[in-house]
Symmetry: none
Subunit: 225 residues, 2 copies
DNA sequence: GCGATGTTTCGGCCCATGCCGAAGCATCCC
DNA sequence: GGGATGCTTCGGCATGGGCCGAAACATCGC
């Protein structure tokens, strides 16, 4: 058994309203900047910075500097599991913290696609040699560029932009990467335009249309029950 | 997702050294009195009482009054799971909090037998009509008294003592009851004396000997892989 | 009944910690 | 370079909450 003082220290990190709020937001998946988290928790940036430093040194968060932003994320799946187990204890006046099923299948993550579907898209393209994965992110192969072009994505324009081309965005519910960055946003935009996907009336949920189902099956060999 | 304020409140209950210590002790399984927990946590009885009231109203503990003692226990398996998940996060300088496998099979609980083996003994005796279970505890049937006597237990002496005859002791790893109280202690004492069981070199672990294995099989029809 | 033991309630002290204003770096964009 | 933006560090304030002494209440054993 862990020494109880460590357990207490760990739990006390979670046991502050502002920090709990930050952790809850980070449970959603994508990393968030210090400023966003400060607004999430309704505290000043200084205060948030202090909280984040505590969570970081306590091993609950990881951080990555990107320009003048610092992106914080949960340190790992055990952290999410522990938070979830804890969440199950709170009186059931709200839905449990685990990812709700519809969101789990497909949802937007900022402006790109996440969930089972988002991961399947990335992995399907990789399997067909359309996409390559590296440390920094994804890259389109020449056939890949052609492929997305016929979906209506202007690849050349994306590379001109200032935004990262295609980040590997860790998918929380799937624990695998989906396509973020400029390419991810463009793909999502096209898939909505082609009516392969439709936004659910509220929230971040995304629905796969009949056209989408047959399209993914035909062009990438992807299918779902 | 639960409202983060609830998550924070819950975690802050665990996030105090004294309370974390109490919870850790209660993770071991048997309920403990307020006084024991106060000593466990190295705080005064008043302070402990305050902590226990908080844990109780937070739904982490349950309590049962028995004479002038109040026995506290974890409120349920979800609580144990959450604590365990949290325990997994603390740096691994100690063994994880989950019940280690050897302890899970057989261990002493104070002076009597717990774990899979302890529960199997209780249920095996019940199935054969040797033991009866009621609200207050277990009772031996006449054949049961005869049975334990031939193991060398002086039943009559046990009833003279002041100690409860045979408490139902909730087994944490099994979530079912094993035999505590005077009878539980006497049974364990005899089983060690008969060399059916042997103590592991350190800790509360108990090993089933070859004689024990054949003995339990022969006399109670109990067997394990 | 009476004393001993176990537990809780009350009251007050005091420290740990969350909070923000001000200031200091770092980075970006023009 | 200069200004704007994002983030952190520092310092001081205030309050929440843990702690214990004292005392009340309950139960046990005589």
């Amino acid at each position: 058994m862990p020494h109880p003082i460590d357990l207490a220290h760990l739990a006390s990190l979670i046991g502050d309203p502002a920090r709990a709020m930050m952790l809850s937001r980070l449970m959603e998946g994508p990393a968030r900047t210090a400023g966003e988290l400060s607004r999430d928790a309704r505290v000043s940036p200084q205060t948030a910075s202090g909280h984040l430093a505590k969570l970081l040194s306590g091993g609950l968060l990881g951080v990555e500097a990107q320009g003048r932003h610092r992106y914080y994320r949960l340190a790992g799946p055990e952290v999410a599991r522990a938070l979830e187990a804890l969440g199950l204890l709170v009186p059931l006046r709200a839905a449990p913290m685990s990812t709700p099923e519809p969101l789990r299948f497909a949802r937007t993550c900022y402006d790109h696609l996440a969930g089972t579907l988002g991961v399947a898209l990335a992995e399907g393209m990789e399997r067909r040699g359309l996409l390559e994965s590296s440390e920094e992110g994804f890259a389109l192969t020449p056939p890949g560029a052609e492929f997305v072009a016929h979906w209506g994505v202007d690849v050349e324009a994306l590379t001109r932009g200032r935004r990262a081309f295609a980040k590997r965005c860790l998918d929380w519910s799937e624990r695998r990467a989906h396509i973020g960055g400029a390419l991810g946003a463009a793909l999502a935009e096209r898939l909505f335009a082609m009516r392969w996907l439709a936004r659910r009336t509220e929230g971040r949920g995304v629905r796969l249309t009949v056209e989408g189902r047959t399209g993914f099956e035909r062009e990438l060999g992807l299918s779902w029950p």
